[in-house]
């Protein structure tokens, strides 16, 4: 694998597509780049990933409101509420940052107090409910989606930090307290350097950096780096717990520049794994297999030849490339239906964890 300096990286939406000589461009100064592919067709919205992350990293100490991994319903306001409206990222030439806003604390929701005491110990026959006005929280609009019966639609969107190749959070920090680490491109906040300015929170267009009001520093997803370094359970190299604990096993984890790995194939060869909001131009390294819902039905329940999820909505989320990606997936599905082999379908439907998680391929590097 080779790394490619910034001068060789075109600052466009497809900056990490394969170059002519087969090399995958990475951020300047980064040896390899961790990456994740999430298949949205497999997500059942169970939040096991969310809880796996939370119990590992954000249970207490000012982190109560944080979900480094969250699963939101799309269409929907998301977490924090309306995060797609808050700016951040890069402008069209990819050189100047777009101004971003700090979310309102309320937009993240908060931990409600419930009337457990009254019901459990005081004999109250009230229903179990929050004791204060509860009018917003993560997943408040879960499963609402959009569309008209019988053709309503929604899907789940799991989100973590994208550990971007061109991260605007890193650029936003005047102290270089947030940085992209050399060995694998994971974006981390140096807790000793951070002075709580929150420019990274403003600067991230995905709103995946969080301010901790107790420590007065900002914190974020660390791609479970102790686990991928073999410092996790039983001293084994393990994928991030959001991936490993997922019941439908919808995530692939590995390195973007592992050209024999499934991520490289899905992203760069078949081009079916897409970036969320590529127009933010931070070049995320979390990719999504777009959802293909069943077709629409008539009032009498007959199948109609019309897509359930409007294609323009998917274009809003994943860019124009979503069209070609869905075409490719349809084509390969048809091949399998006709009894032919499809490497793409094998990758997407594997139940072998060794194929899904390839984290030790560069262990022999100096």
């Amino acid at each position: 694998m080779s790394k490619t300096g910034d001068d060789a990286v075109p600052q466009t939406d497809d900056a990490t597509r394969q170059t002519d000589d087969g090399d995958v461009p990475l951020a300047e100064g980064v040896d390899h780049q961790v990456a994740m592919v999430m298949d949205l067709n497999k997500c059942i919205g169970c939040q096991t990933c969310t809880i796996a992350c939370k119990t590992n990293w954000t249970e207490s100490g000012g982190r109560e409101y944080m979900y480094w991994n969250n699963v939101e319903t799309k269409p929907g306001a998301g977490y924090p509420r309306d995060w797609e409206e808050l700016g951040g990222g890069w402008d069209e030439d990819g050189q100047s940052r777009t101004p971003g806003e700090l979310p309102d604390q309320e937009d993240y929701g908060r931990a409600w107090d419930f009337n457990h005491e009254a019901i459990m110990y005081e004999g109250s026959d009230e229903p179990l409910r929050p004791m204060e006005n509860a009018d917003w929280g993560p997943n408040w609009d879960e499963d609402e989606g959009a569309g008209e019966y019988p053709n309503t639609y929604y899907f789940y969107l799991p989100r973590i930090c994208n550990h971007c190749t061109h991260p605007s959070c890193v650029e936003a920090c005047p102290r270089s307290a947030i940085y992209k680490r050399e060995e694998d491109g994971i974006v981390l906040v140096d807790q000793d350097r951070c002075r709580g300015y929150r420019y990274c929170v403003e600067g991230c267009p995905y709103k995946k950096v969080f301010y901790n009001a107790q420590t007065k520093t900002s914190e974020k997803c660390i791609f479970c780096y102790p686990r991928i370094e073999g410092e996790g359970p039983e001293g084994e190299v393990r994928p991030p717990s959001c991936a490993e604990d997922c019941p439908p096993q919808l995530r692939h984890v590995g390195f973007l520049d592992d050209e024999d790995g499934p991520i490289h194939k899905l992203v760069n060869e078949y081009e079916v794994a897409l970036r969320l909001h590529p127009e933010y131009r931070t070049e995320p390294n979390v990719y999504y297999i777009p959802p293909y819902a069943p077709p629409q039905t008539s009032e009498s329940g007959e199948t109609v030849d019309a897509e359930r999820i409007p294609r323009n909505y998917l274009e809003e989320l994943f860019g124009q490339q979503v069209n070609e990606a869905l075409n490719t997936i349809n084509r390969e599905r048809d091949r399998v239906r006709q009894g032919e082999e499809s490497e793409l379908m094998e990758i997407l439907s594997t139940v072998n964890n060794d194929d899904q998680y390839r984290l030790e391929v560069f262990d022999d590097d100096g």
Binding site: P99, L102, P103, D104, Q105, A172, P174, R175, S176, R195, G196, Y197, R198, Y199, V201, E202, Y211, A213, K216
Partner: protein
């Protein structure tokens, strides 16, 4: 020169010349002394009052401050390359300084109708103020946090988190110095913050300004308005001033030189004019 001197031409011209010369000399003498009398404080000077004892100097509202001269220091946005770097609200700070018992006391006071003393939620930023000193006490580092070769100490106070002593060698390099000996006391009354910073003049620690009790030391000031989400380089900052600790009283040397040059020019012009009148009269 005598009355019989034929050159005297009746004596009038000579007497005029003598009077003129005397007047001119008086002007020279007066101009040299003039600024010390009328304008006791030089530009960019923060006089440091010597007090026999500290009394209540450590308190922002202490009576001891009543006899200490206050300097009006204008400030403007630092212009740092951060979002909103030129959007600041505080336009000036009142600075007073005193010394007692080998300690330096500096009081900053500025108008701020909103006391922002919390950083407990995402959009909450605290009011703050700072005094910047050169690490090398006889130096004047670049105003924006110094440079790698010419570093600065910053005495930093924040309404939410208290006091820090910082070291910086250029923008973005600010680092806390552990076990700071800088102390502060702050009060917000009548729409104003008043904050007293105090520290012993001398220091034997590396990277901490050792203030010579007999030498002037440069100082610059900054204020952050929390309600305007000011933090980092988004701050109102002054130019370099100097804390007047040295022995010189009154005018600075360059002012004395300027006044002396002006005085000599007055003498020269007077003499030339008198001589011109004499020649015109044919004396």
């Amino acid at each position: 020169m005598t009355a019989e001197d034929p050159e005297a031409g009746g004596g009038l011209g000579t007497r005029q010349l003598v009077v003129a010369a005397a007047l001119a000399l008086a002007v020279v003498a007066a101009t040299a002394a003039f600024p010390a009398v009328v304008d006791a404080r030089a530009a960019y000077e923060i006089p440091v009052e010597r007090e026999a004892s500290a009394g209540d100097l450590a308190e922002p509202t202490g009576d001891a401050w009543e006899s200490v001269e206050t300097v009006h220091v204008p400030m403007s946005s630092s212009g740092a390359a951060v979002p909103g770097g030129s959007d600041t609200t505080v336009e000036s700070v009142q600075v007073a300084a005193a010394r007692a018992d080998d300690r330096l006391y500096v009081r900053l006071s500025w108008s701020d109708p909103t006391a922002n003393a919390s950083t407990d939620s995402l959009r909450a930023f605290a009011d703050a103020a700072a005094i910047q000193l050169p690490v090398s006490s006889d130096s004047q580092p670049p105003i924006a946090m110094g440079s790698t070769d010419d570093r600065v100490n910053v005495w930093y106070w924040n309404a939410a988190d208290g006091t820090e002593s910082l070291l910086a060698g250029g923008a973005g390099s600010t680092t806390e110095i552990p076990e700071s000996t800088v102390e502060t006391s702050a009060t917000h009354t009548g729409d104003r913050w008043s904050v007293v910073f105090t520290r012993s003049l001398s220091s034997d620690r590396a990277n901490v300004t050792d203030i010579d009790p007999d030498e002037d030391v440069n100082a610059a000031f900054a204020v952050w308005e929390g309600s305007n989400e000011e933090r980092s380089g988004q701050k109102a900052a002054s130019e370099w001033y100097y804390l007047s600790l040295g022995p010189s009283e009154g005018a600075t040397p360059y002012e004395t030189v300027l006044w002396a040059v002006a005085g000599i020019a007055v003498v020269f012009t007077t003499l030339v004019t008198v001589e011109g009148i004499r020649r015109t009269r044919g004396e």
